[in-house]
C-alpha cells in the first residue's frame, strides 16, 4: 500500500544545525528501512510560533513528503515523540486530497474549454484576455469584519 504523507515537525530553537540534520537523517533512515520513499524535504527555517509551546516562542520547521505505508508513518511518529528536541509534529495523508483537487481542476478546464469552443473562441485563453489574472490582488473582496461576530 503506497500512500503519500506529509510530515511537518518543529524542532526546538535551541537545537543546533547538527541536531536538526541528525533528526532528518533519522527520519530518512526509517523511511529507507521500511521501504518508503522520501519525495521531498523542505526546511522552512526558524519561524515564530503563534503561541508558546513549552517555553519556546520560535521553532525550526521541517517538512517531509513521504510515500510509504501507514506502518512506516506510525514508526516515524513514535520515534519523533521520543526526541525532546521535537516540540511538535503533524502527519497528514495527502494522496487522496491531491487526487480530488486534480480531478476538479481537470474537469473545470475541460468544461471551460468546451464552452469556449461552443462560443467560437479558441480553446485556451489568450494572453491579456478576460478577467484579471490571479496575480493582481488589488480587488479586495474580503468580508467586512466589522459585522456582528456573535
Amino acid at each position: 500500500m503506497n500512500r503519500k504523507y506529509e510530515l511537518v515537525y518543529i524542532v526546538s530553537p535551541d537545537a543546533t544545525e547538527d541536531q536538526v540534520a541528525e533528526l532528518h537523517g533519522q527520519v530518512e533512515a526509517v523511511v529507507q528501512r521500511m521501504g518508503g520513499q522520501l519525495e521531498k524535504t523542505e526546511n522552512w527555517g526558524r519561524r515564530r510560533l503563534a503561541y508558546e509551546i513549552g517555553r519556546h516562542k520560535e521553532g525550526n520547521y521541517v517538512l517531509d513528503v513521504i510515500s510509504g505505508s501507514g506502518e512506516l508513518m506510525k514508526e516515524i511518529e513514535r520515534r519523533l515523540k521520543v526526541y525532546d528536541t521535537v516540540i511538535r509534529q503533524l502527519i497528514v495523508r495527502v494522496d487522496e486530497a491531491e487526487l480530488v483537487s486534480e480531478r476538479r481542476r481537470s474537469t473545470r478546464t475541460e468544461s471551460s474549454r468546451r464552452r469556449r469552443v461552443a462560443r467560437g473562441l479558441p480553446a485556451d485563453r489568450q494572453p491579456g484576455e478576460g478577467q484579471r489574472s490571479e496575480f493582481d490582488d488589488d480587488r479586495d473582496d474580503r468580508f467586512e469584519v466589522g459585522e456582528d461576530l456573535r
Binding site: 511537518v8 503563534a50 503561541y51 503533524l90 481542476r105
Partner: protein, 98 residues
C-alpha cells in the same frame, strides 16, 4: 454584482407584524452579495501551510470566521476548518487571540 443579500436587513427582528415604516427604513441597507472566496478564486486545495490565506478567516479573537459572515460555501468552509485546525496544531495560527 450588487445583488441584494438574501436575508439582509434586520435579521430575525423585523417580523411580519412589525410596523411598515421600520421595514422601509431598513430597506436601503443593501449589502454586497457575498461569494465564496474559494469558489471565486478556484482554490481547490485549501492547504494548512498557506497561512496567509487562512489568516483572512481568523479575526483577532482567533475564532474561525463563520460562514454567515465570510460567505464561504459549505464545502469550502468544511475544508477551511480542517486546514485551520491543522495549522493551529503547528502553531502557525493561534488558538486564541491576545
Amino acid at each position: 454584482m450588487n445583488g441584494r443579500k438574501s436575508m439582509g436587513g434586520g435579521r430575525g427582528r423585523s417580523g411580519p407584524g412589525q410596523a411598515k415604516g421600520d421595514g422601509q427604513q431598513r430597506r436601503p441597507m443593501f449589502r454586497r452579495r457575498k461569494v465564496c472566496k474559494f469558489c471565486a478564486d478556484k482554490i481547490d486545495d485549501i492547504n494548512y501551510k498557506d497561512t496567509k490565506l487562512l489568516m483572512g478567516f481568523v479575526p483577532e479573537r482567533a475564532k474561525i470566521l463563520p460562514r454567515r459572515i465570510s460567505g464561504t460555501c459549505a464545502l469550502h468552509q468544511r475544508r477551511l476548518r480542517i486546514a485551520i485546525m491543522r495549522a493551529r496544531q503547528l502553531a502557525m495560527i493561534p488558538y486564541t487571540g491576545e
